[in-house]
Symmetry: C2
Subunit: 344 residues, 2 copies
C-alpha cells in the first residue's frame, strides 16, 4: 500500500465534495489501487489553514463547515500562513488548486501552480484560468521539474476530455472542436425557448444554483471563451488567450429569435468552436448559432454539455455529459490524483 | 528507438487499412513514441502467408492485393502453414486477430487469441466474438501469461470506449449503458423515415458498403446483441452470452410505425442497453424504441453511433462517433498496439 499526500488550496464546494469522495471511495482506492490518499493540509482564506502530516479527519472537517459556513477548520493553525508558504512547506506530493478564479487573469491560481511545481509538487487544478492564461509556461515548468500539471475539471466539470485525448487517443492530432460548454447560457436558452423571459430564466438558473449572482460572465460568453482557450492550448498545442477568441454572448437573443429558430426546425445554442486555418494557425470563437435539430449539439437541454473533437484518426468524436455539477468536478480532481499516482 | 513486432491473422479491409495507417504514421510513431511497428507476418486463407522477421513491405503488399484481389501475397511461403502454427511460431510480440467472424460462436477468433496468449504473445482483435463469447477466459489467460488482450475495435469501429473506461475513468464502476451501435439498422431506419421502403433502404445501405449481402444479422439485432455482450463483459464484469440478451430486430417496423413516431415527436432507434437489477445482476436488451427527440440517441442519423455509459462517478457520459468505418476500425487496432507498447 502506498500513500499519496494531497494538500488542498481552497475548501469551497468542490473541495468539500472531494473530501466526501475521498472518504466514500477509500475502500475502492485501497482495493483497486492499493492506495491511501491522505489529505495533509487545507489552506483557505475564510476558514483558516490546517497542516496535518498524518492526515486530516475529512468527515469531521466537512461536518464543521456544514454546521457553520463561517467556522474555522478544526485544528486550524493559530498563526496566519500565506498561501505560497503553505504550498511550499506542506508535506504533500500533490497540490490541489481550488481557489476562487479571477477570470480576467487566471490569478492567483497560476501563481499557486507555479509555486507548487517549483517546490517539486504535482499540481491538480479545477480552475480553467491556469490552462487558459498560463498553460505553456506551467506545462514546461512541470516537464522541467518532472512533475505533472493536470486540470481535467477545468472544462465540462470532470468529464474526461483531456484524459481521453492523452490516454485513449494515441498518435492522434486534434484539429479543432465544437461544443456546448457553458451550462448557464444553455439552461437560459432552453428556458427561454420554453417561453420564459431572459430575466425569468436567469432567476430560475440562479435558484437552481447553476448561474452566479452576476450571470454576465456566462451570458456574455466569457466562461465559454476561457474554456475554448483551455481546450485549444491543451489539445491543439495553441498558445492563445481569451482576448484572441471571437466572442458573442446570448444577451441580445430575443424570444422572437428563439421562436423563429424553432419554426425553422433549428435550435439556438451558444457554440464554442476552434479550427485550424489553412496555414495551421488555430482560431477560436464563441457564438450563438441556429443549429439544425440533427446536429448532436442542438438537442442538448439544460445543463447538458457536449464537445465534438475533430481528429485526424477517428474523424469527429463526441463526449457528452448530462448530470454535470460539483460531484463530477470533484471526481475529475480525484481522477487526476489517480493518474499522477499511477505514473509514480 | 524500440521495435514492436506485429503479425496479422487476416488481411481483408481492416488489415489493409491498418497496413496503410502504419505506413502513413511511421514518422509520427517514431517522433512521438520512438517506436517502429514492424509487421513480421501475415496469414490469410486466400492470399497465402508471409513470415518476414525483418518486416513486410506494407506498401508493396497492399498494392498487390489492390491490383488483383485474388493475388498471392508477394513473398508468400510456398508450403501451407496452418494458422495456429503461424501464430505460435511467427516472430512477433503482438498477434492482431482480424479473421472473419462466425457470429454464433466467436470462432475461430477465440482459438486464435488463446493460441497467441499461450505462446506468450499479446493479442489485439477487431472481432467482437472473442469478447462476447470468451472474454473472461481470455482475460484470465492474458493475466496469467502477463500479456494483454485488447479489443477496442470490437464495438463502434475504433471509438475509444474500452480505453476511456480503462484509462480515463479510474475508480469508476459502469452500472449500465444505452446506445445505438449498429450502423446498418440505423441507416435503414433513417432512410425509411425519409420515405424509402425496407427493401430500398437495405439496397441503398448495401450499395454504400454498410450492409452485408445478407443484412439479416444486422436487421434482426444480432450484431447489436453480440456488441451488448462484449460491452457488458468487458465494462460491467458480466459473464453473458448473446443468448442471454433479449433481442428484437427492426424487421417488423413499418412505414406507418415510423410516420406515427415522427408525428408523435419521436424517432425509432434500435437501442442496445444494459443495466443492473436490484440484486446487481447485469441484464442486456436490444430493442427498437420510440425516443423523444431530446434524447441524444434520437438524432443519430445514418451510420452515426453513440454509447451513453451510466457510471457511479460521472453520471451519464456519452461517447459518439460520426464517421465510422474501416479507417476508424484500423485506428482502434493501432491504438491497442500503442497501448501495449506503452506498457512494456
Amino acid at each position: 500500500m502506498r500513500t499519496v499526500r494531497v494538500a488542498l488550496v481552497g475548501f469551497g464546494n468542490v473541495g468539500q465534495a472531494l473530501a466526501d469522495l475521498l472518504d466514500q471511495r477509500a475502500d475502492v482506492l485501497y482495493q483497486q489501487y492499493h492506495l491511501d490518499v491522505s489529505v495533509t493540509g487545507i489552506a483557505t482564506a475564510r476558514h483558516g489553514t490546517i497542516i496535518a502530516p498524518d492526515g486530516v479527519d475529512l468527515a469531521r472537517t466537512v461536518a464543521a463547515i456544514e454546521d457553520d459556513p463561517a467556522a474555522t477548520l478544526p485544528g486550524a493553525l493559530t498563526g496566519a500562513i500565506a498561501i505560497p508558504a503553505f504550498i511550499a512547506t506542506v508535506p504533500a506530493d500533490i497540490i490541489v488548486e481550488l481557489s476562487p478564479l479571477a477570470p480576467e487573469s487566471g490569478q492567483p491560481a497560476i501563481r499557486h501552480c507555479e509555486t507548487a511545481l517549483r517546490n517539486g509538487k504535482h499540481v491538480v487544478t479545477a480552475n480553467k484560468g491556469p490552462v487558459a492564461y498560463g498553460y505553456r509556461r506551467l506545462r514546461d515548468l512541470a516537464l522541467s521539474q518532472h512533475r505533472q500539471f493536470r486540470f481535467e475539471s477545468a472544462v465540462m466539470d470532470g468529464a474526461p476530455i483531456f484524459a481521453l485525448v492523452e490516454k485513449a487517443l494515441p498518435a492522434t492530432k486534434v484539429r479543432g472542436f465544437r461544443g456546448v460548454v457553458n451550462s448557464t447560457s444553455n439552461l437560459v436558452l432552453t428556458m427561454m425557448t420554453a417561453g420564459q423571459t431572459l430575466a425569468e430564466a436567469v432567476a430560475e438558473a440562479q435558484r437552481r444554483g447553476v448561474a452566479e449572482a452576476d450571470p454576465s460572465y456566462d451570458l456574455d460568453g466569457w466562461d465559454a471563451t476561457v474554456k475554448v482557450c483551455a481546450l485549444m492550448n491543451a489539445l491543439m498545442d495553441a498558445d492563445v488567450r481569451p482576448a484572441d477568441i471571437e466572442r458573442t454572448g446570448i444577451g441580445d437573443i430575443t424570444a422572437d429569435d428563439l421562436r423563429a429558430a424553432t419554426a425553422a426546425g433549428t435550435a439556438i445554442k451558444l457554440v464554442a468552436e476552434a479550427w485550424e486555418a489553412r496555414d495551421g494557425t488555430p482560431h477560436g470563437r464563441v457564438v450563438p448559432r441556429a443549429l439544425p435539430l440533427a446536429d448532436p449539439l442542438a438537442t442538448l437541454a439544460g445543463t447538458s454539455n457536449m464537445l465534438i473533437l475533430r481528429t485526424d484518426t477517428m474523424g469527429d468524436l463526441a463526449i457528452g455529459e448530462y448530470d454535470g455539477g460539483t460531484p463530477q468536478t470533484a471526481y475529475g480532481v480525484l481522477a487526476d490524483i489517480l493518474h499522477i499516482a499511477d505514473s509514480e
